[in-house]
Symmetry: C3
């Protein structure tokens, strides 16, 4: 645990090249010099408190952090957080799966930039190809009770954009969501994170319910919103948490 | 057509320096290594299917793609997509017009970063200054029936922000929209793309109607939303398509 | 005044390394070549008109511009606008305070990238550590009448995300907002700018009222929306101005 936390503290702001070797427990000199109060919040609040809270495992916190960084295009912070994610137990294949998933949920440009960084991190660590995402995988069985969702897309989106309706049912839900490189629970988690971090309120209600059906608890989602606050800003997290609060109503 | 598609496939992820020479038919090594499933989607779904769909010309798909990249600040993917746009028949003057237009609709910083990349691409291709945007152009005649729009801005925005109302009517609509470097139809298209890609829902209804008045069809706009899904993410495209569906109601 | 305006004109697009020495009165060659109409708007409308309007001081316009750039992650334009902000009377300690504040309101990644640029600008200018933000400062007294706000957060957010509720009251409002490196008025201004530039409509109503309570006038806020239009795009500014217009209703 100590090792993870130390690495995490360093991960906040180390330069791009430091990558996997990050082991310094304190924020970088530039931050301590130009904004020392921010360095204190980074050390005491973000890494000394939030990352240690029991509501989510370090592995889930890494998954959430990387999902924010990929889906909002923050490549600069990605090398150290990918390294931390690997240290926290997120496998290289899952990182490939996360980037592939977020290509659809936050656009190809974010994914293309992220995969370049990830490939570099994987190569620096000497991770063999056998541990990376596989292109050809047997798909998971189609989820039960998916027919109403598919029918609603066809009925509501079909007349507006036949292509978007067809790609949503044929590629997004019947292929991407059935890939085995992420569990449905983790796929829901990174989707919810990307929607929250990008302010995509329209789709959040559906995916929060979908995520709960896939095994995420309300407590985990509430804690995820607090974690997202630090990586995508308070307003996005508050809107996400409010969407979570509206689920019952 | 084959040439365009091959160039397009390469355009997804080639490094910044590859630029106009891009001719490889397959995604880059980094993606094939670290996220091979994403490489398959890029090859089979995005370039092998979506870019070939008949609902929009390759020229319009390039205009849409470049508008997403400029308006969301994705400079890293811009060199190869600018090169592809030129191959697909978007003229250098129109690219200058697009960047100028999106300075207003997505902020100066995105445009300033984009124009630096565009200038480099233009110079590498040896495009003469006579083919580039001209600063001094006779404006198109003012659009008919614009008085109610201008009056609404004055009435509704004038009391809140006199500067914003005056700049909207005096500069945005009475100058920028009347520049001849983009047709009103193309100007509407890149505006709708920028609003959709940035989640600017408040203004989308007006601009969708404005775009239809300027010659865009509902079918083209529906297909544009499917294309945008790949470059700005599914949630933004779904919200945009839903705004399109609400036009009749 | 002339000096400031000349510096401002150059600040629009000079390359990263030009920094504090910026003194050219005209847009860069790349823009004049590839998008000369944009260069004209930059010179005549943005710097020749908007920056000179009397509704806001140059110092406030710099604060607004830097807040947009930091909160939307536009690091490329930051060096010259930080230099301009220093010329316009924004102190180095306030810049550190602004970045610290916007870490919370737009996410750590934006702040971490910004602080690296700021540190470089400060060092190039030879600004002594005594003029920079201080980590250890006596907090301002808690604001009067804050109890209802804190109670509302506890009541509404507590059941959804106990961590987010506790961090909002314990760290955000009871610590960050009480730091002396920004006045409450300036803290409100950069918060409103960040919310507007990022489309965070849900929280804008509260912060506009909070800002007026902290000394911002409606006229200043209306003028700020016109300034934001140029740095975050027209749609974000229109939505922000509409939120301002709804305050009375």
């Amino acid at each position: 645990m100590t090792k993870t936390i130390l690495t995490a503290a360093a991960a906040a702001a180390l330069p791009l090249s430091a990558g996997a070797q990050a082991a310094e427990p304190s924020p970088p000199e530039a931050m301590k010099h130009a904004a020392p109060a921010l360095a204190e919040y980074t050390k005491d609040t973000l890494f000394g408190d939030v990352w240690k809270r029991p509501g989510l495992t370090p592995r889930d916190r890494s998954l959430i952090t990387v999902a924010v960084l990929v889906s909002t295009g923050k490549s600069q912070q990605l090398p150290t957080h990918l390294a931390l994610a690997l240290d926290n137990g997120v496998t290289p294949a899952k990182i490939g799966g996360l980037i592939t998933h977020l290509a659809f949920y936050s656009g190809w440009p974010n994914a293309v930039s992220a995969v370049e960084v990830a490939d570099k991190v994987f190569r620096e660590r000497g991770i063999p190809a056998s541990e990376l995402q596989s292109a050809e995988s047997a798909l998971l069985p189609p989820p039960e009770n998916d027919a109403p969702r598919a029918a609603a897309v066809e009925k509501n989106m079909g007349p507006i954009s036949p292509s978007l309706a067809q790609l949503t049912n044929g590629v997004l839900f019947d292929d991407l969501w059935r890939r085995p490189d992420l569990t449905p629970r983790d796929r829901s988690l990174v989707t919810i994170v990307a929607l929250t971090a990008n302010g995509d309120a329209d789709q959040l209600g559906f995916h929060l319910q979908h995520g709960i059906a896939n095994g995420l608890t309300r407590e985990q989602l509430g804690e995820a919103m607090a974690h997202i606050a630090f990586y995508a800003g308070w307003p996005k997290a508050f809107s996400g948490a409010n969407a979570l609060g509206k689920l019952d109503k």
